[in-house]
């Protein structure tokens, strides 16, 4: 098994071509995202080997990822084994919120990083008991752009947006939705106050990706949480 540091691929040099002023070109095929993608596959193999489905939760700061995860954990933990990896740049507030539910939680502090990467997740996988787990929730860093390029080994990716982010959050961050399987539109209890249409946001998502599952939720009233839990168990 390779590690992040040992995974640099060997270089090939197909052509060396001289040009005036003693300047040379070297072909150097080297993918910058490949090392992470390979580690993500390794994580996936470990998870599959234990029958664990990992879900990558992505979304902006304040969209309600942590609250949604806490709700889902509360709903699911008596029936299936659940664990949570909380990504956060510096704080451990999120960990505290979920850890009070009694499930295994690992805090992944990226410090200056704007996304979780597969290497961090792989390290965290060694910190928990994998036996008897069925679901692993990976809470990505609050960010609607960067995490899209960094798979972690999850079987599905869920994007959490909320009506408080305004009417254009989908079209402003299209890449996030193209690679996701489920979209949650959260805080629907505030839609009227925000003058934001949940139907219009749903239509925007489907314009980018026609077959994606969209679930409106309110973590405050509990609306839609059952449907999200069912969707995750069906992944």
């Amino acid at each position: 098994m390779s590690t992040a540091t040992a995974s640099r691929p060997a270089f090939t040099i197909p052509t060396i071509e001289a040009s005036p002023e003693e300047i040379y070109d070297i072909e150097l095929e080297h993918s910058l995202l490949e090392a992470n993608a390979r580690l993500a596959e390794e994580n996936r193999a470990v998870l599959d080997g234990h029958g664990i489905t990992a879900i990558d939760f992505m979304g902006a700061i304040g969209s309600g990822k942590t609250t949604l995860i806490a709700r889902l954990v509360g709903k699911l933990k008596d029936d299936v084994g659940v664990a949570v990896f909380n990504g956060d740049a510096t704080t451990s507030n999120d960990q505290d919120l979920v850890a009070s539910s009694g499930v295994q939680v690992v805090q992944l502090a990226t410090v200056n990083g704007c996304h979780l990467d597969a290497n961090l997740v792989g390290k965290a996988l060694k910190k928990i008991q994998l036996a008897d787990l069925r679901l692993l929730f990976l809470e990505n860093i609050g960010n609607l752009i960067c995490p899209a390029e960094f798979p972690l080994g999850a079987k599905a990716r869920i994007v959490v947006i909320s009506v408080t982010e305004g009417p254009w959050s989908v079209r402003k961050h299209p890449h996030m939705f193209l690679g996701a399987q489920i979209v949650v539109i959260n805080k629907t209890d505030l839609a009227t106050a925000m003058d934001v249409s949940v139907d219009a946001l749903t239509a925007d998502v489907h314009k980018l990706k026609p077959d994606i599952k969209v679930i409106p939720t309110s973590c405050k009233t509990g609306a839609g949480i059952d449907e999200v839990a069912a969707a995750l168990l069906a992944v």
Binding site: F11, E21, E149, W168, L178, K207, D211
Partner: protein
């Protein structure tokens, strides 16, 4: 700012390669970035220039070529350019995964590249010093 981690990856990779091959001065790095990645070319160039001082990459130009997106439809068999969402935002046409032919969900088949294609370097004054064996 994942552009910074990508820029660090470029610098790391190229300097390691340069050192292993006795290359003292690189004048250009050519990249291929896919249309479906969310890597911003201007930010990437800025990050690259900010971390290359005092190295073999100092002053090197970062050329970024774009790889077009393509999709494949599992429903009708379409293969080709994606359908673009015009007017989604004032400035940009957004590539979508709606099949241009049948309107159902297509899958991306190209446009996720983010790789270094080639480097251009100045040969050292004594050509015999340049060791161009594969690393």
């Amino acid at each position: 700012m994942h552009e910074f981690s990508i820029a660090s990856g470029i610098v790391d990779t190229v300097l390691t390669f340069a050192e292993a091959n006795g290359i003292g001065k690189i004048v250009e790095v050519r990249m291929l970035v896919g249309e479906l990645t969310c890597v911003d070319a201007e930010q990437l160039k800025f990050c690259f220039s900010a971390i290359t001082n005092d190295s073999a990459l100092e002053g090197a130009a970062l050329q970024i070529d774009t790889a077009d997106a393509a999709v494949r439809c599992p429903h009708c068999g379409y293969e080709g350019p994606p359908k673009y969402w015009e007017g989604a935002l004032s400035a940009a046409f957004l590539p979508t995964l709606e099949c241009p032919d049948c309107g159902r969900a297509a899958e991306p088949s190209a446009g996720h590249d983010c790789s270094i294609k080639s480097i251009r370097y100045v040969r050292d004054s004594d050509p015999s010093e340049a060791k161009l064996s594969t690393a």
